[in-house]
Amino acid sequence: MSAPQVIELPENLDMPAAAQLADAFAKRLGEPLAVDASRVTRLGASCVQVMLAAARTWKAEGDALSLQSPSARFLEDLNLLGLEPTTFLNGVIAP
């Protein structure tokens, strides 16, 4: 099995970045994917929605989706939004 494709998240994941992010995920549908969050300095709820939708989709497809080296800021913002990185790692979405 080949190494998963990597999506490198941009620094600024604010609302205008959401549509682009959704496109980026849509292009890699059907293959294992790693999301590199090392550069993220700002995480908005709109992009979180996209990532959650992606996680749910990848899970439904049975493909692996993982989170790579999240930045401190990414984790901090995620925490502020009441979410944990494991949500993405496992593709699990809390009910």
């Binding site: 979180v48 996209v50 959650l52 992606a54 939004l81």
Partner: protein, 696 residues
């Protein structure tokens, strides 16, 4: 404006109110008219100032307020009796607190020695209670309460935690407008300890996702010492762009009846609980405070003064416009139509009512002004070693804000005078059979459309022989002048008169009573003195309730329309032959009921005509100027008596001697409002002997 600065401004405005409450409460405590609620109110006032000051990191203010609050708490708990020396320190502390507020707002220099002195005083009162003495030594950090064996600092810095449940669901508009949930949550987290739960169930699969939509919602629990308003303020800018529900949760400690259950339930909140137990008083105060603010918020709004003034100006224009319309209709002869006449009457009625209501917006009770005077009395009493109590009455009387503002200086001066010059030293009082404590009474009352403010002392009264001899020495009156008691008293208002033998730091500041009188006159007021030897003096000021309208008599002079302020007119009369006498080449007097009064031709005086008119053809208005001087003003005819809207001549044109202001009449023409004092002064400056005026 910088939003932070706006919040700070509001804080300082509130400080003023709290300081007012504080002063009132402390006065009541000193008078012995205080109940438990008074002490609570005083405590709350200091506590609120401290709370706000803490938010703005005004450390000196916080530090002092804290010591003050701690002492008040001991009084509230009955550990410290509010005896006379204690109350003295309390009042001094209130003064220092006011200074610190002013310093924090305006900057400038502040002498720490006074606040340190008061801090030492307060702590001494607290330490005096033997029960509190566990460790008599003072801590090296200078905290005066370190010796008390309890830790107020810990209490004040960690106030009671409130629990809020927040449900938040953004609408897509929230994100479209550039707002961000992450940022809101970060703001919330700053207020205290935040637990967030994100509801993700609505998030669809990627194929169905619209990136601009909003699928997530949040439930958050916040433990914070901040009040509900602070939590709501976080969402201020997203109001309407989200579903928001913020609920302050009744704390379990208050609802749980059994201590055991409480312990079980409250296990995770042990720290908060501990703090609660440590500060029941604070919690109570905070609750009452929150209730108080909530009520106040419902009943009042803060409005920029400029807006009110603009409204007043517009209503003034409306009144003028209405008068003009009425006149036009009259001229057109349409008034025969009854419905038009009724309509005009109704309009006039309404305009008046609007005008009065708008004026009422600017009206404020004199209470804050009187409260400031309490402090002046204390300071002067301290400086002169006199024992004085200030009694105030009628603080609720409302006057225009500008009148209040401009009254502060003259009132301060008169209060200083009353304590410094009016009241005797305690020994002299006792010798005269009076109580050692002198009394200064400050009262306000509405009387016939004006407000009358009186400052009365129960001191020695005016020393008339001395006043007269000084006036002679200074060349203010002729050595052989025969003056009545009232005239001698009024000499105090002459420029250049000062009775203080040694210039003291208190009243001898180069400002004499003449300046006071001029300030009062500039407000359209008048001032008078009554004095009884050995029993005291009373200064009485009568002031207009507003500076925007004036009751005047509309008169005709040399084809010009003038308005004479009604408050200066005593009577009007038509001179008969043989009542007018020439006095020298250039003046005339009129005989009224056996006395003589200078006759002033207004038209000649203002330069409307080059020669004097025949007094027999006109009407004379007997007026009294502020100094009690009577003169007869000669005009051609009296037209009307009505309320006019004052328009400043200085602001729109320039100062004209003898004219106070202008107004616009119904026919659209400008009418000048006469400055009767200036006219009289100008006229006597041209040759009428001053003794004559005084004796008139």
């Amino acid at each position: 404006m910088d939003p932070m600065q706006a919040i700070k401004d509001t804080f300082f405005q509130e400080c003023e109110e709290q300081l007012g409450e504080l002063e009132t409460g402390l006065q009541a405590m000193e008078d012995g008219t205080a109940d438990d609620e008074t002490v609570n109110a005083v405590f709350r006032a200091v506590h609120s100032i401290k709370g706000g000051a803490g938010a703005f990191k005004l450390d000196r203010l916080v530090k002092f307020a804290h010591v003050f609050e701690t002492t008040l708490d001991r009084i509230r708990n009955g550990q410290l009796q509010p005896a006379v020396p204690v109350m003295k320190s309390m009042l001094r502390a209130a003064d220092v607190l006011a200074d610190l507020v002013t310093f924090s707002r305006d900057g400038g220099a502040l002498d720490d020695s006074r606040s340190n002195e008061v801090i030492a005083e307060l702590s001494a009162h607290c330490e005096a209670k033997p029960a509190a003495q566990e460790e008599p030594a003072e801590e090296p950090d200078g905290n005066p309460f370190a010796a008390l064996g309890w830790e107020p600092v810990a209490v004040s810095l960690e106030p009671v935690l409130n629990q809020y449940e927040i449900v938040f669901k953004p609408k897509p508009e929230l994100y479209a407008k550039g707002n961000e949930t992450t940022r809101l949550m970060r703001e919330l987290a700053r207020l205290g300890s935040l637990t967030v739960h994100c509801e993700t169930a609505d998030v669809p699969l990627l194929a169905n996702l619209e990136p601009e939509q909003s699928y997530l919602s949040w439930r958050a629990t916040l433990l914070s010492e901040q009040d509900l308003a602070a939590v709501q303020a976080v969402f201020e800018f997203v109001d309407g762009d989200c579903h928001l529900d913020i609920e302050a949760v009744e704390s379990a400690a208050e609802t749980a009846p059994e201590p055991e259950t409480k312990a079980a339930i409250e296990e995770p909140k042990a720290v908060a609980e501990e703090l609660r137990a440590a500060a029941p008083a604070l919690r109570e105060a905070a609750k009452a405070e929150a209730a108080g603010t909530a009520n106040a918020a419902q009943n009042t709004i803060r409005v920029d003064l400029d807006r009110v003034d603009r409204l007043i100006n517009l209503v003034g224009e409306l009144v003028i416009n209405q008068a003009m319309l009425t006149q036009r209709v009259l001229e057109a002869g349409a008034v025969k139509n009854a419905s038009i006449a009724t309509g005009l009457d109704d309009l006039e009625h309404l305009t008046r009512e609007i005008q009065e209501s708008v004026m009422a917006i600017r009206a404020q009770p004199v209470r804050p002004l009187f409260q400031r005077m309490a402090r002046i009395v204390r300071e002067v009493a301290d400086a002169t070693g006199k024992n004085v109590r200030l009694k105030t009455e009628g603080e609720g009387a409302e006057v225009d804000r500008t009148v209040i503002e401009r009254l502060a200086d003259p009132l301060t001066h008169m209060i200083r005078n009353a304590v410094d010059h009016g009241l005797e030293r305690p020994e002299a009082r006792t010798a005269a059979g009076k109580p050692a404590q002198g009394e200064v009474r400050l009262s306000a009352a509405h009387k016939s459309g004006r407000v009358v403010i009186e400052i009365a002392d129960d001191g020695r009264g005016i020393d008339r022989p001395r006043v007269k001899s000084i006036a002679i020495k200074k060349g203010l009156i002729a050595p052989d002048a025969q003056l009545t008691d009232t005239e001698i008293d009024n000499l105090l208002f002459l420029p250049g008169f000062s009775t203080a033998e040694t210039v003291s730091a208190i009243s001898g500041r180069g400002v004499g009573m003449d300046v006071v009188k001029r300030s009062i006159q500039a407000l359209g007021g008048r001032i008078s003195i009554t004095s009884r030897p050995g029993l005291g003096s009373t200064f009485s000021m009568s002031l207009p309730l507003t500076l925007a309208v004036l009751d005047g008599m509309v008169v005709k002079v040399a084809d010009q329309t003038l308005v004479v302020p009604l408050n200066s007119i005593l009577e009007t009369m038509k001179p008969k032959g043989g009542e007018v006498y020439g006095l020298g080449p250039d003046s005339q007097v009129i005989g009224i009921r056996g006395g003589f009064t200078p006759l002033i031709d207004v038209g000649y005086e203002l330069g409307f005509r080059s020669h004097r008119s025949d007094p027999m053809t006109g009407v004379t208005l007997l007026i009294e100027t502020e100094g009690g001087v009577r003169s007869a003003l000669m005009v051609d005819a009296i037209q009307d008596q009505r309320q006019v809207v004052i328009k400043s001549l200085e602001a729109n044109y320039g100062h004209v001697e003898g004219i106070a202001a202008a107004t616009i009449l119904g026919d659209g023409r400008i009418a000048l409002i006469l400055d009767t004092d200036a006219i009289v002064n100008a006229s006597c400056g041209r040759g009428t002997p001053s003794e004559m005026l005084l004796a008139g």
